[in-house]
Structures are given as C-alpha cells and as structure tokens.
Amino acid sequence: MMFLASTIHDAPQVYVDVFIAILRWIAPILSLVLFVRCVYPLLTFKREPEIWARLCLANGKKYALTHWENVIGKSKSSDVVLDRRGVSRSHAVLTRYDDGSWSITDADSEGGVFVNGIRVSFRALEPEDIITIGGADMVLQPISGKQEQKLAKMRTGNSSVFANFSNLILLTVFQLLCAVAFLLVDSGETAQSVLLGFGGISVCQWLLMLFYLCIKRTSFEVETIAFFLCTMGMCVIATVTPDEAFKQLIAMVIGVVLFLLVGWSLRDLQRAKVFRYVAGVAGICFLLITLLFGQEYYGAKNWLVLGSFSLQPSELTKVCFVYVGASAMDRIMTKRNLISFIVYSVALCGCLALMNDFGTALIFFCAFLVIAYMRSGSIGTITLACTSLGFAGVVALKIAPHAMRRFQSYRHIWEDPLDAGYQQTRALMCMASGGILGVGAGMGQMKSIFAADSDVAVATLTEEWGLIMLAIVILCVVALGIFALRSAAVGRSSFYTIGSCTAASVLLVQAILNALGTVDVLPLTGVTFPFLSNGGSSMIGAWGLLAFIKAADTRQNASFAIRLGKFGGEADE
C-alpha cells in the first residue's frame, strides 16, 4: 500500500497537474450526483396515513387512529375530536405499543376516563374493554395481524438496496480520488495519514452497511450523507493537520458506535424512557466534571484533558439534552408544565456560561426553544425564552470581553483586517480565491490560518473544493432538517418526533453559526460544523444526534432504530 502511495507521490508534475485539473470538475459532479441520489428519497417518500385502530362509539360513529399516540379531546387539534359536553380540550391519550397492545391515559381531564365503568388514570386496554369519556361509550378495535402485514407491504419502502449500494460505491470512488489527490500534492510524509483517513472512512461505511444488511435494514441515505460530510472533513484535515487524520477517524468510529447505541436505546419506547433519566444525569455530570477539572483554551474552559486524550464533554451533553427533552404524548398531556425541564436547561446553560462557552450555550438555547415549543405549543413561552436570552446575551457580553470583541468586529472585519477581523478576512479572501470550483486539493493557503480545520473549516473547504462544494455541504444539513420535518407527519410517537426535530435543529444551528460566522454574515462563535470540522467530541456528538433523526424514519425496513414488528417482517430482536 505504501509502495503504491510512494509511486503516486513520485508521479511526474504533469500527471499531478492533469489529475488536479480533472478532479476540480469530477469532484463537484460526483458530489452533486451523490447528494441528489441520497436526498431525493428523503424528501419525496410518501406520507400516507396508516390506520392502526378504530375507535367505535356506541352511536356507530367510527374514528380511525392514524398514529401510535392519539389525543382524544374537544380541541380541534386533537387526533380524535369529541365535541360534547363533559369532554375536556385534551381529555385522554391512546397509546399503541410495539407488540400491538394499547393503553389509555387520562390527561388530567375534569370528567375523567372510565374503563368498564371504573375511573382510571392509566390502563392497559384489553379487547372488548368499554371506554367511557364524557358520558360516551366506545370500544377500541385494533387492526388484525393480517391487516398490519398488509399495511407494512403498502408502506413506502425505502429506496432499493441497489440504490443505496451504488451510492456507497460512488462515495467510495470519491474518497479514492480525494486520497490520490492528496498523495499527489502532499509532501510524502503525510501519505500514511491520508491513506488511513480516507481508507478508514471507506471501511467504516461499508461495515455499517454490511451490518444493516444483516439486520434487514436497507436504508442508508442519512448515513451516506454523514459519511460524505466526514469525507469532506477529512479533506480539510488532510490539508491543514494531516497528523490528526487518525484521531478524527477514531472519533468517527466511536461516533458510529454511539449512533448505533442511541438508536438501539430508542427502538423500544419503554427502554428509551428509562434511558432518558440516565442521559439527564450524564448530561449534567459531563458539564460539572468539565467545570471542576476542565482546562481553558482560547477563552473557554470546555476541555477535559485525560493524559494525551482531550475532549469537549459539552458536545456529548447535546445528545443527552435531546434525550431529556424528548417526551411521549401521555407524559406531555399529564405533566403539562415544563418547569423541571426549564430548571434542567438553565442548569446546563449556567454551567456553559461559567465555562465561558457561549457558542455552545446558544446551541442549547435553540434546542431548548424547539423542545419547549413542540411540547407546549405556546408561542408565549418562546417569546419569554427569547427575551431572557436577550438579557442573558447582554450580561454575557458585559462579563466576557472576548465575546464582546467578536461582536465589535461583526460586519466590520474589513476595517480591522490584521487584528479582530484577521481570521474572517483571510477566510473570505481564500474562499474568493477558490472560485466556484476551488484551487484544488492541498493547494490552499487557509492552512496557515488559526482553526482552519475547525472554526473556519468551511473556508478551507471552499478554497480547495469550491463554492459549489460548500453549497452541497450546507444543503446536506438542510436536507437532514427537512427530512426530520417530513418524518414528523408520520411520526409514531412524539418522543421520536421531538427528538428528531431537535437533533436536526441542533445540527442546523451548528451549521448556521459555523458557516455564516466564518463569512461574517453572523458573528464568529467558534462552533464546529457537524461531521466536517476537526474535533473528536464534535464528531461523536453529531453521530449521536443523527441517531434521533434515524429513529424517526418510519419508512419500511428503513431504520435500525425501529423494530420491524411482528407482522411487518421478521422480528430481529
């Protein structure tokens, strides 16, 4: 392998020039094809309502239940609208489980919920149980096993195995071309790192696909997008800090493992509810430990150094925070106030403020906003939260001079290009120098700028691979966000829907702060770009968040985080 690498490296200059000249065109075309092939099924899958049971009233009226969690109430936004006296706006919640059984929960209604004449607050339903709400009797008729099987067949399948397989081949070809490009232009000492970096990602993606095939899951679009972003991240590392390629690869492998673990924990809602508490404790512990034993770098005390190993625990806390924020419908309806969640969020943001890590605090705030709104539906809560952020922001700027300095140079970077605006003016100069197609792998000048592989990584990417690659990378994150939104319509539990929308929002906010901060559309905050920026903890965290998006993917045989179920295929656990 190394012989091959050294042969490539010793190629005559004319081969290098020709290869780079061709790659400048091939790379964006290949990426664009890959992007369209991965994103198209995510944005076009049909979201037909699926009937899981019928609620039959004594007067013969029938309501189709199209979710696994259904709110019964007078409110128009209820899943089953019962407009009669004695029914509260949100009266009760009917919940379906993996095994096809159902339960009913009283959502703190005035009139109460009766099952076979006995008032209950929660009860697992048996066939033929008579439910009484607001004086109306009704019976739940779940669909039969046969019907469920039919449903699974009708459900939009994920794109074919072949399509996903060819996507991965495309990505592998792309990675091969990137590796050859860096071997050609680099000094030779970095050959091993480059080979290991790109090769490692390739091996990892194929192993994951193999694992999916073993457990009869065939959808790989979301993962392919993530691996593509990791590949572009490796391109940035190969040019700026090739020595760190291996470290980043290891972080990616750990990230994929976390992705699988979080996904596994989410497949069973009951299990997920238990893990929620574990995640809650872990999340705050990560921050407290950092606060006590952490080290300060560049103004923020957000690093934990263990020997030669250093990590940013706040990145992992993001995953925990999404876990804590997600909530199933019965809980949302019975425990309507958000006080405990708000207290938890304030505690986390307090820790981050003490660590001087305002960029991360902003990400948590946005995640909080999404969770609070999705759980309460109250615009008032959101307005209140935003107002408090405004005040907190003013206080933060007063007490943190380095943050203030960034705000002062915001939109004025060209007036101070040698000091406060240095990083961003150089980033823009280099991005402009790259044009639409880039100056070619390894040919950039961004490498001499501070944080060229992390805080301003998109500039390095744009310089060498072109504006078009930046657009593709940004659209990848956008696609994940739109996919999470589309999945919400057919979400089975609010736990998954809240989880996936929050996770997607966190990835989006990171992309917003990083990319728009680099180009001075927003102030530079030093936040990483998901999957792309060099940084182990960030990489692991991004994969953890991706598990939530994957868990909301209800397409048949799509997600390992969703059980195939008794009748939907072979059970696999």
């Binding site: 709110v71 100069m429 040919m443 939104l485 929308c501 929002s505 728009l516």
Partner: protein, 458 residues
C-alpha cells in the same frame, strides 16, 4: 400526535435561517469576490505587501522578476537596481502599486476558477520598460540623485524610468549606517512621488501660453540689459542678451525677456494655462497617482509672478506630469496617456492589454508646432545637435535654484521629433549645477532607446 407534528415546522425556521444566510453570502460573494481576492494581504496574491504570483518581463521578454514566494529578481545587479522602484522589494519598503493594481488580472481571477490556473501558472506581466534602457539610464545618472524617464508620445508607453539613489533588492544597503546620506530617499520613486522646482524648463509653459494668447508675440522685441527692475526687486540674467524676439529669448533662456512676457500675460492668464497644460495635476496611470505640483501666485507681487514664469518662486512640478506636457507638444498639442503595464497573460490568454488613450487637447496644433520649432532651434543653437547624432531633438534645460548650500538642480525636458523615435523625455538631477549637465545623460539614454528591439542587454 397531530399537534406535535404540526409544531415540527419550527425546524424549518433554522433551515430558512441557514439558507437565507447562505444566499445573502452568495450575493456578497458575487459582488465582492473580485475585491476580496486582491485585498491587501490576500494569501494567494500578496506576500509582505507585494504581489505574490506571476512573472514580470520587460517589453522585450527579458525576465525582471518572478513574484512568487521569495521573489526572484533578475540576475543582473544593475537591472535589479534600475527597476526596484517599479517592482518593489521583498520587505514592502518599496511597494509596486502599478503591479498591485492588476492583481486580479495577474492572479487570473475569475468567478468559476478563482485564482486556479492549470499547472499553477500565474500571470506574465509585460511592462513597457526596456531593460537595456533602464540600465543605460542608471549608468548615465552616475550616482547622482534624480530621475530619468522616456516615453513614447505616440503610444503612451513608458520606455524608461529610473530613480536614484537606487538599491539592490537582493542586497539592500544598511541605511542606518549612511553618514553621507548616499541612500537618503532611496525608497522613493522620484519620477512619480517627487516634485522639483522646474527652473527654466518652465519657460516652455510660458512660451506656449504666450503663443496661444498674445497674437503679435512673435513680432515683439524684448530688451535684456542683464537685469530687469521691479521697483526695488529685479530679475537677473547671466548675460546681457540685448534686443531679441521671443524665439531668441527662448534659446537664450533670457530671464529678463520672460519677465516681460510674464507681465504681459498677467497672473490669470498664466494660471489658466498652467491648469490647461496640466502642469500641476497628478498623473494617473496603472493604479499610480503621481505627486501633484504647485503653481501658487495668488498673492505674488509682479517680480514673483515673473520668477514663477521662469520656473522659480513657489513652482513645483512632478517629473511625470511635466513629461506628459512635453509629450503633448510633441504630439501636436494632444498627448497620449502614459502607461507602464503593456499586457498581462495567464496560461497564454490575455487578461489585460493596454491601449493608447488620447488625453484632451491642451493647445492648438499650431502652437505645439511653433513651440517644437523653438525647442528644436534651441537645441541646435544652444547645445549642439551633435549631442544627439541622428536625432532631431527639441528640448530645454533648466537650472533650478533650490537654496541652501546645495548646487542647483539640473533639469532637461524635451522630445525627439522623428517618426522612428517618438520619444519624450525628462531628466532631473539634484545638486548637479547647470541644466546642460543633463545632456550627456539623456544622450546616452536616447542612444540606448535607438538600439530598439535588437538592443543588447549589457
């Protein structure tokens, strides 16, 4: 679930912020990328204040400088010295605005490819300077401080421009240890950045103004008795020139006659023509704006108005501006704009090509012809045409008194009136004495110019 699904739109909020911000950036990129690439300090284009890509060649293809990385100058020391004020040095003490202003074209920037060029070839900048003439001019100046410049008045090409004291960018002198002030002002390009008291070369201005505005000026007689009284003040000549017409007065460089002409013209007319001839206006070409001169006689008494018409008093001219003026006379009263960068090509295709641009007419062609005739007559009767073998030279010397213990500045401005050699020139030598001391210098430089494209570089 309907409720929760309905609230998922909040995710779109972030999608919209990201896309909106990115589109805003794309708009900024589309409108400003060209400026960002060439903004001072741009890593692909600059290094220590000077441009960091491309090669500079002279008009005959001789490589003067490879600007990439460490900056490789020509192997010829005298060539390095004679061009340093145009090419800049390694440390940014001397900048090269004429090159920097074409950074975008040299880097070969376009929106699609950025500054990428196949095989990392950056631009080739072809200057109008000719290496052999530069060296000849540096040698001819012989260690004196000053400047020599020659330009083609028919096209605007600047063939030669040397400023001294020059230094070798490959071996810069220790200026902290310079007791005799040999290197004083060595970072200055005197052709573009300095102003000089013009002395008698300014008589060309007064002559042209008189020819334009006084109909019978050619038939008038002026008497010189060695001095001309203005009350208690007086203007003096070095000799008694007796009675003479304006043509003779010009070739005699008679201060007394020109004092009388100045009185006839008056302040306003003089000021009007100085402005019309562009004598004090900065010259703008190739990203360079030269120093502006001054002609301030608003509060001057008659004697000082007279001195100003002879190129003394407060008069200050920039060599480039005065060269443009004599060039316009040579070209029939309507000059061509000076330029220094001839063409720029990247990977074989032209990204810039200079064009001859006519300036506005500053005097009638009849006046220009007459002034040229007087200047030519001046050379033949005063300096001797044999100083310029094979050339019809029209010129005027100047001996500009600068006060203090220093000798006068020697000045010489004029042009060659031959179709084959359409060259206008100016020589300024500080602390040198009489203007005629410039003649051997320009004679050597014009000789080098004449050798043309086959001129050997030695």
């Amino acid at each position: 679930m309907n409720r929760i699904a309905g609230r998922a739109w909040i995710t779109i909020l972030f999608v919209l912020i990201l896309l909106g911000g990115f589109i805003f950036f794309l708009f900024e990129y589309a409108t400003s990328a060209g400026e960002w690439v060439v903004f001072s300090g741009s890593p692909h284009v600059y290094n220590a204040g000077n441009i960091n890509c491309g090669t500079v060649i002279d008009s005959e293809g001789y490589v003067l400088l490879d600007m990439e990385g460490e900056r490789d100058y020509s192997s010829d020391k005298f060539l390095r010295m004679s061009t340093v004020h145009w090419l800049g040095d390694r440390y940014g003490y001397v900048d090269a605005p004429a090159l920097s202003s074409y950074a975008e074209q040299i880097a070969g920037f376009d929106m699609l490819n950025g500054v990428y060029n196949y095989g990392d070839q950056a631009g080739v900048v072809k200057l109008t300077l000719r290496a052999s003439v530069q060296k000849a001019a540096l040698t001819a100046l012989g260690g004196r401080k000053g400047t020599v410049a020659v330009y083609n008045y028919k096209t605007g090409e600047l063939l030669c421009s040397v400023s001294t004291p020059a230094f070798d960018p490959d071996n810069p002198p220790d200026i902290t240890n310079d007791p005799d002030g040999i290197y004083e002002g060595m970072y200055l390009n005197r052709f573009t950045q300095s102003v000089y008291t013009p002395g008698s070369i300014f008589k060309i201005v007064t002559l042209a103004a008189a020819l334009e505005s006084v109909p019978d000026i050619e038939t008038q007689k002026f008497t010189c008795s060695g001095s001309y009284q203005f009350g208690v003040d007086r203007i003096t000549c070095e000799a008694v020139h007796g009675e003479q017409d304006i043509k003779t007065a010009f070739s005699n460089s008679c201060n007394c006659a020109f004092a009388q002409i100045a009185l006839q013209l008056g302040k306003e007319t003089l000021q009007k023509y100085v402005a019309q001839f562009g004598i004090t206006q900065p010259v703008v070409f190739d990203g360079i704006t030269t120093a502006g001169g001054s002609y301030d006689i608003n509060d001057a008494h008659d004697v000082n108005v007279a001195w100003s018409a002879i190129g003394q008093y407060n008069d200050q001219v920039n060599p480039a501006a005065f060269l443009s003026f004599v060039g316009a006379i040579a070209n029939g009263g309507e000059g061509n704009a000076m330029y220094f960068v001839d063409e720029i090509s990247v990977g074989g295709s032209l990204t810039y090509e200079a064009q001859t641009k006519g300036n506005t007419r500053i005097m009638s062609s009849a006046t220009a012809e007459k002034v040229a005739e007087y200047m030519s007559h001046n050379v033949s009767v005063r300096y001797g045409a044999e100083n310029f073998p094979g050339l019809t030279v029209c010129a005027k010397t100047g001996t500009a008194e600068v006060g203090g213990e220093k000798k006068s500045n020697a000045m010489f401005a004029g042009f060659v009136q031959d179709d084959a050699y359409p060259y206008a020139f100016i020589v300024c030598m500080e602390d040198t004495g009489y203007g005629k001391n410039c003649i051997p210098v320009i004679s050597a430089v014009l000789e080098a110019c004449k050798k043309g494209v086959n001129g050997a570089l030695n």
